[in-house]
Structures are given as structure tokens and as C-alpha cells.
């Protein structure tokens, strides 16, 4: 009873924090579904290397895109790192330009070459509770004095207890990207 009560209390708070992005995704199921995401950033043999800006967002037809993560130079003095966010251009157009950054739970520092693992739990942080349906996780990387690459990972968000997975591999600025949805 106490547990149910706590969940009931937390949902309006989560909705407030998620703002307008949440509603189009439908009613929040009472499940603790998670997305395990692994993102590989390639080691590049270039004269001038800067860690890429990386945006990760979720798209569903008919709903506003939902930013799950934006890795950029958050610590640069005077917020100057935000000047280059527009170079992550599809994300900037889809979601970034209407956001206030840095955003709690979404903004993060840039990451270097290697495989980075993230676990996103529905209803916590940037990932809203999702209704079952078709989604696309999009990841876009743009590197200072380098290139840009975008990968789209379509997947079905299962009902309670289901699983789903998707993977893709970049050729220039992104390596392998894989996601698994589990309960």
C-alpha cells in the first residue's frame, strides 16, 4: 500500500519534470522497463582530435522528439561549449533548439573513444514512461574540425515483460551502437 502510494505521488512529479514532452507518449505504464544502450566512439587517427558532441534522442511518429542525452563541452567557461550544439544539426532542429541547456539529467560531458554503456529507466530521468509502440532511437555525433554521422535504430517498445533490441554501426564518427529494451 505504501509502495503504491509512493508511485502515485511520484508520477505527477515526473510529469512536471518531463514537461510537454511526456504527454504525446501516452499513459505511463507501471513498469520499470529499461533501455540498455551501448555506444562506441571510434579512435580516430587525426592530427587534431576533439571528443565529439553526441546527441541521443527518441522519436515516435506524431510525438515531439525526446532528448535522452547530449554530451558536449558543458564545463567550458561562460557556457561557450553550447555555441557548437547547432553542429549536431538534426538533433538541434528536432529538439535542441527548443531546450534550455544545460538540462538536468540530459546534458553530460563529452566522452572519448571507446564503448560507453548507459542504462535508462522509463519514468526516471530523461526517459519518459512509454506506451507500447514503434520508436526510433537516434544518435548523432559531430566532432570539432571533424565530421558528423547519424544512426537510426528503430525498435518496438514492448508491453510489460517483453524485450526488444536494435543495432547499427557507423562508418566515420560512430562505431557500433546497440540497444536492448528489457523489463
Amino acid at each position: 500500500m505504501i509502495l503504491t502510494h509512493r508511485i502515485a505521488m511520484s508520477r505527477p512529479m515526473a510529469a512536471t519534470m518531463a514537461g510537454a514532452f511526456m504527454l504525446p507518449f501516452g499513459a505511463a505504464p507501471l513498469s520499470a522497463q529499461t533501455i540498455d544502450l551501448s555506444v562506441t566512439l571510434p579512435r580516430l587517427d587525426v592530427a587534431e582530435y576533439h571528443k565529439p558532441y553526441v546527441a541521443i534522442w527518441l522519436e515516435q511518429e506524431g510525438a515531439a522528439p525526446r532528448t535522452l542525452g547530449i554530451w558536449y563541452d558543458v564545463a567550458k567557461k561562460g557556457g561557450e561549449g553550447a555555441k557548437w550544439l547547432r553542429d549536431v544539426r538534426q538533433w538541434w532542429r528536432a529538439a535542441g533548439r527548443s531546450m534550455r541547456l544545460p538540462a538536468d539529467g540530459v546534458s553530460g560531458a563529452t566522452r572519448g573513444p571507446g564503448t560507453h554503456r548507459l542504462t535508462l529507466t522509463a519514468g526516471r530521468g530523461p526517459l519518459p514512461p512509454l506506451a507500447p509502440g514503434q520508436y526510433v532511437l537516434v544518435i548523432e555525433a559531430a566532432r570539432e574540425v571533424g565530421g558528423r554521422e547519424l544512426l537510426r535504430l528503430p525498435f518496438a517498445w514492448p508491453g510489460a515483460g517483453g524485450t526488444a533490441s536494435a543495432r547499427a554501426a557507423g562508418t566515420t564518427e560512430l562505431g557500433a551502437v546497440a540497444l536492448t529494451v528489457r523489463r
Binding site: 557556457g79 553550447a82 557548437w84 550544439l85 533548439r97 527548443s98
Partner: protein
Amino acid sequence: MTLRAALFALGATTLLAAPAAAHRQWMMPSATVLSGDDAWVTVDAAVSNDLFYFEHQPLRAQPLAMAPDGSAGKIENWATGRYRSTFDLHLTARGTWKIMSVNDSVFGSYKLNGVETRLPRGLSPDRLAEAIPAGATDVRTSHNVSRNEIFVTAGEPTTGVFTPTGKGIELVPVTHPNDLVAGETASFRFLLDGKPAAGLPVTIIPGGNRYRDTLNQIDLKTGADGSISVRWPGPGMYWLNVTTDAEPEKAMPARRASYVTTLEVLAP
């Protein structure tokens, strides 16, 4: 008519024809889509043949800036060189800013005691009456409003700067001019003196023609509601021109208006 008067009249005709010359006026911003909370743009402004290379004349009149809420912005670091002018604008508010160079003037001539006299260059329409002396005959005037405008956006595009003034040709966004992507179709509406600018020729030329043999010009005509649609063939900067000069044989129409903007089309 003396030879001198004849030459003078010829000079007047040449002057009157000047606005229709082929040189292209433009402003080129360092960026049109900006992020961060302290965004600046630097703008080059020139009149040239090739787009967007400064090789002929600088834009000499200092433009004005309009903030997203319609208030005046501040042009900074204005400088005019041999081939171009340059200036900065600090985008101190989020939204879409307009930078504009507007010329609203009357060209013309009159005869007084048999001598043809040109109206002073750049004569403001509200000073026309006092510029024509009593007893003048053969008064010929042409009211010209030319607009050269660009748009830059910090954060999310807004539409406050598109409120029409009702003077000359103005752009009304159907597609926001700072939200253009190659392969997509954009629509804009044009107004002439606040009313739909129907049937006007629209020319769109992609920049970079110095390094190709063909202009790759896109020729369009505004529809009954003043609108055009264009599918962007590729990313880059484009020069767009709308003009009332649909009747080239008419040497001096009573009313002329033109509109120029530079549009940035991003890669998808």
C-alpha cells in the same frame, strides 16, 4: 534642346535605369542557426556579380537590426572596405532576428523653363512635394522601395520580425527562413505594400557560381496569394530576389519594389 541638355537627359535616363542593373546586392551572415546563450553573427554586405564574393562594391548604407520582439538591435563594428562592408550583431535574446537595408526613395525628373532636372538621389517620398519647384512641367517620378533582409535565429525560430510594414515587398514565412533543409520544399509568401504580391518573378540562385559554368538559377512566379514553393536541390547559401520589374520595356514605372534575401539551406 542643346547638346548639354540632351546629354543631361541621357544621364537622367541612365540614372533612372540604375536600380535595374544586374549587380546583385546581398548580405552574408556568418551563421543563420545559432546555439548558446551568447551568440554573435558577423555579416558581410556587398554588391557583386558572383554570389557570394565581394568583387564590385560594398553595401554603403548601414543596415538596421530588429530583435525578436520587434525592438531595435544594435549594429556593431561597422566598417566599409573597398569591396564589402562588414558588421556584427550580438543576439542578446533568443529567437529570430532581422537585419535589413531598406531604400525607400523617389527617382524622377521635371522640366523648369525648358530645362530637364533630375530629382536629388535618394529622395524620400515625403519630401517629393518640396523637391519639385512651382511651375515645373513634365514631372516624371518613380517610387522605389528595395529591401535587402536577412534572418538569423538563436535557439528556436520565432516570427515576430515578420510583421509586415506595408511598404514595398516583404516576406511572410510559411516555412521559416531559418529552418531550411536540402531535399525539403519550402514556401514563402510575398506581400507588395501589404497585399499579396501576385504574379511577380522570383529568382533564386545558389551561391558559389564563380566555380561553375551555369547559374543554376531557379525561376518562379508568385501565385495569386503571393506565394512560391521551392524544393532545395542541395545545401548551401541561396540568393533570392523578387521584383516588380515584370515589364522591362517600361522605362520608368510609377512604382518599383524589390526584395533580396540570403537563405541558408542546411544539409539533412
